[in-house]
């Protein structure tokens, strides 16, 4: 009886492992329009209303925790404000949340009126709220509540008020998965402004706050605080997902590398973990190799 149980248990374990590996293989080998991706998108579509409800229902708890977090910091800075802050707990939590959201929207408006105004045809920003986040160390992705029904397509750039956030990696009718620039699979071609060299910005797995700028020669003079924008390169066949000129972040540290390239640390302008709203840039100028 015991041996029969062990055999059954091992059979189930092996079957599940094999099934997982088959799913992995199919996911990598089939195109985005394949049946497994279609099933995945269908499940995501079914789940998205529940995610949105859960997101909204848990927002007060999230705000409260954020408020405690901010209050804790405020206490450290100014002990005298403690009593006032405690009296205004609930009101302050709501006010801070509203102010934060207003600030995010104002920054998005500034970005639209300045950096993104020069494209022909212009981008049409679609504002979305972040409803889910991946918990794993190696997946820096978020889900937003806008999808193909809102004109969002795969590879559309995603920005927040402060700068570049990432690109759309997958889309359902009502939701989109955004791959953040801090995701280990992300790399962005950038240019140091005003007249610096170009390079590639990539994340370091496990460090969500900083990015690395690669392929900048040891001979180039880079100063701390220098700003990076998307390079937006393009030729007749291929082009970058990101258009030219979206701010990404600024240089915080430079050291000469062992090889020919400097080791440059970049702090992104967008605070990935604090984001609540983002804008997906739909439409815009033609990008060879992207829009087909």
């Amino acid at each position: 009886m015991y041996r029969k149980d062990v055999r059954r248990r091992r059979t189930i374990l092996v079957a599940l492992i094999v099934l997982s590996l088959i799913l992995l293989s199919i996911h990598f080998s089939e195109p985005r329009s394949g049946p497994l991706h279609a099933i995945q998108r269908a499940v995501a579509t079914v789940l998205s209303p529940f995610e949105a409800i859960a997101n909204q229902a848990l927002k007060p708890a999230r705000d409260l925790i954020n408020w405690f977090d901010e209050t804790f910091e405020a206490r450290g800075k100014n002990e005298q404000l403690r009593e006032d802050l405690e009296e205004a707990n609930a009101a302050l939590a709501q006010a801070q949340t509203a102010l934060g959201e207003n600030e995010e929207f104002r920054e998005m408006l500034d970005l639209n009126q300045n950096e993104l105004a020069g494209f022909d045809p212009p981008f049409e920003p679609v504002t979305g709220r972040i409803i889910v986040r991946s918990p794993t160390v190696t997946n820096a992705t978020v889900g937003v509540n806008v999808g193909s029904g809102d004109g969002v397509e795969v590879d559309d750039p995603v920005v927040a008020g402060a700068g570049l956030v990432g690109r759309v990696a997958d889309v359902t009718s009502g939701t989109a998965q955004v791959q953040l620039i801090t995701d280990p699979r992300s790399s962005v071609s950038v240019k140091l402004v005003p007249d610096g060299p170009q390079g590639i910005v990539e994340p370091e797995v496990g460090d969500p706050d900083d990015l690395r700028l690669d392929f900048v020669s040891n001979d180039d003079e880079i100063s701390e605080g220098q700003q990076l924008v998307t390079a937006g390169w393009s030729n007749e066949e291929y082009s970058s997902v990101y258009p030219y000129g979206i701010p990404i972040g600024e240089v915080t540290e430079t050291t000469l590398g062992d090889e020919n390239f400097q080791r440059i640390t970049v702090r992104p302008y967008a605070e990935m973990r604090a984001l609540q709203y983002v804008q997906v840039l739909t439409g815009g100028p033609e990008r060879p190799g992207i829009d087909e």
Binding site: R9, P135, V137
Partner: protein, 199 residues
């Protein structure tokens, strides 16, 4: 654990709620750089209560749901979480759980293993980015948070699944490792092991 239709529904509800809370709530926070992970803790708790098969199957299903909800690579979370559920179940089948520290330690350890497993699997699947030393801190923190989360979650899940746990004190457990004996396993007399021996 006796799996009836009602218990299956309860397990499914636990999984769905757990995944929704994770992706819609807990993933928004970071404690010393690490996001709290409730999913491996819940899968480990179900494995500890239901055994290896139940733990493995629930872990696999939870992983599928998580990957589908986040539009991630299908199969990655399933593989990791089925291992978490299976190992927790094997622990339960080999050792008696007689204090609240045991489940918390198992859940914390398996959460840590799951976080490390995710990183290792993604590296094998072609992530070429450099790895920061901070990742070690993040994985360790996830383990510690998992340990702490297990204190309220294990009793809660045990309470929800209580009708199915009528055999939880069965003395039929087998040792996990040769030479280690579960406290509940009956001791055999030497005479009974002697070939042809008659009491």
């Amino acid at each position: 654990m006796i799996i009836t239709r009602q218990i299956s529904i309860r397990l499914a509800l636990i999984v769905v709620v757990c995944v929704l809370v994770q992706i819609s709530f807990l993933s928004y926070f970071a404690i010393l750089g690490a996001q709290p992970e409730v999913v491996p803790v819940v899968v480990a708790a179900i494995g500890l209560l239901g055994g290896a098969v139940t733990g493995g199957v629930v872990g696999f299903a939870t992983g599928l749901l998580l990957d589908a909800a986040l539009l991630q690579t299908m199969g990655v979370s399933s593989l990791i979480l089925l291992s978490v559920g299976y190992l927790a179940g094997r622990y339960r089948e080999g050792f008696e759980i007689d204090s609240p520290v045991g489940p918390a330690l198992v859940a914390g350890g398996l959460t840590l293993l799951a976080a490390a497993g995710f990183v290792a699997l993604q590296m094998m699947l072609g992530v070429e980015a450099q790895v920061s030393g901070l990742i070690v801190r993040e994985i360790l923190m996830k383990g510690i948070i998992g340990f702490l989360l297990a204190y309220p979650l294990y009793p809660l899940i045990r309470f929800i699944l209580r009708p199915a746990l009528v055999l939880e004190d069965s003395p039929a457990r087998r040792p996990l490792f040769r030479g280690r004996r579960s406290k509940l396993e009956p001791r055999r007399s030497r005479r009974m092991n002697t070939p042809g021996g008659v009491a």
